[in-house]
Structures are given as C-alpha cells and as structure tokens.
Amino acid sequence: MAMLHTVNKSPFENRSLDSCLGRIKDGAAVLLFEDAVYGAMKGTAVAGKVQSAMEKSKVYVLGPDLRARGMSEDQVLDGINVVDYGGFVDLVTEHDSVQAWL
C-alpha cells in the first residue's frame, strides 16, 4: 500500500532526500517542504535524481514554502505537483501511512 514520505531538509544540507529516494517503493509519494523545496528546482545538481524518482513515484512540493523562499512554480521541475497545506493534509489522508525523513 502506498506510503507518503516527507522530506524537510535541503539536499544541499544533508542526505535525507537521497536516503528517501533510494529506499521508497514504486507508487509511493514524496512531499518536499521547508528547505527541501530546493530539491524541487530545475537545473540543480539533484534534479536528475528527482526526475528519475518521478518515473516510479509521485513528487509534491509545498507551495507556501516555495514562495517563502522567493521561488515560483515555474522554477519547479516538470511533473512535480505544487500543493498548499490543505493539499498536504489530503496527501496524508490519501496514503496509508506517513514517514518523515528527519
């Protein structure tokens, strides 16, 4: 059954996004929020890794945390869905369990 994984640290700060993407099952969902929104940007050193994760999993990014860092939705990798806090709640309820990669 599908699990939601949450990542809240920048991939340029620690390895939690890498650990997460390397271990999730096909069909899982990943929500990038807080400083992890940097992992959703186009043209970064981790963009390729995130894009290949999207072949088997869904990736989401929290819009308010993007905007709080001066970034807009058109800077986000194609295929990543931008959600608000209500969308975060929906992701939690739509998946069977939630794993925070702290």
Partner: protein, 130 residues
C-alpha cells in the same frame, strides 16, 4: 479522519513548529479530528507561557493554546524532555522543589505512553522535526 501530530523541534528554531501548526490548522479546517499533539525533545519548548516574541511576530505557543481551546486538542509534553529543559507544571514544580511553573494553557505534562496511544488511536501520525 483522526490525526495525531508529533513535534520534535522548538519554536523559532527552523520551521517545524510553524509547519506543524499550519498543518494542524489545515487539517481542522478540512473537518478532520486532531486527537493529540505530542511534543518531544526540543519540541517541549512550544509549551512555555513565558515566551515573549516581538509584537509583530507570531506567538507560536499562544496559537497552540488557542487551537487547543477551540478544537479540544490534547497538547501533551513529554515529562522527561520537559524536566531537562525546565518546563514545569504546578505538580512538577512542587515535586522538584522549584519556585514556579511555566506551562502554557492547554498543555499538559505526561509520558511517552501518550505518544504510543496517539499512534494506536489515530488513523495517521504526522511527525515534524529538525
């Protein structure tokens, strides 16, 4: 759906206390029940009523207290984490011979059993932290 939230980071540190608060508000707005918020590690610092942030800044503790009052949410602070960090209620202050207590409205001090119970009783447990 019945949700439980765990907060492992203090207020004004990175963003986790704010994220947990915004998530909890959004869940309540969508009609979900938030059964309990459990504060562990530095997260217990969310529960001190002695914090005085600048007037143009958010008061995270007061926002938790207001949410708890409006929506009957059980705000539980881990006793061992609280003792280490100087967060006391009236009983704890008396028990340890301290001259006052600082726990905020709506918060109560209890143990890790409350976290386990929240995990069992709720449909989802969402963790916020450093």
């Amino acid at each position: 759906m019945k949700l439980a939230v765990m907060v492992n980071e203090g207020p004004y540190q990175h963003q986790s206390a704010d994220s947990a608060l915004q998530f909890t508000k959004a869940a309540l707005e969508k009609g979900h029940e938030v059964f309990r918020v459990f504060f562990y590690h530095d997260g217990v610092n969310n529960g001190t009523r002695f914090g005085v942030p600048p007037q143009d800044d958010r008061n995270i503790t007061v926002q938790w207290s207001e949410l708890a009052e409006q929506h009957n949410i059980d705000l539980v602070v881990c006793v061992a984490a609280a003792q280490r960090r100087g967060l006391l209620d009236e009983n704890e202050a008396k028990r340890h011979g301290k001259d006052g207590n600082n726990i905020a409205n709506g918060f109560r001090i209890s143990g890790l059993g409350q976290l386990i119970e929240a995990g069992i009783q709720s449909d989802r447990l969402v963790v916020f932290g450093d």
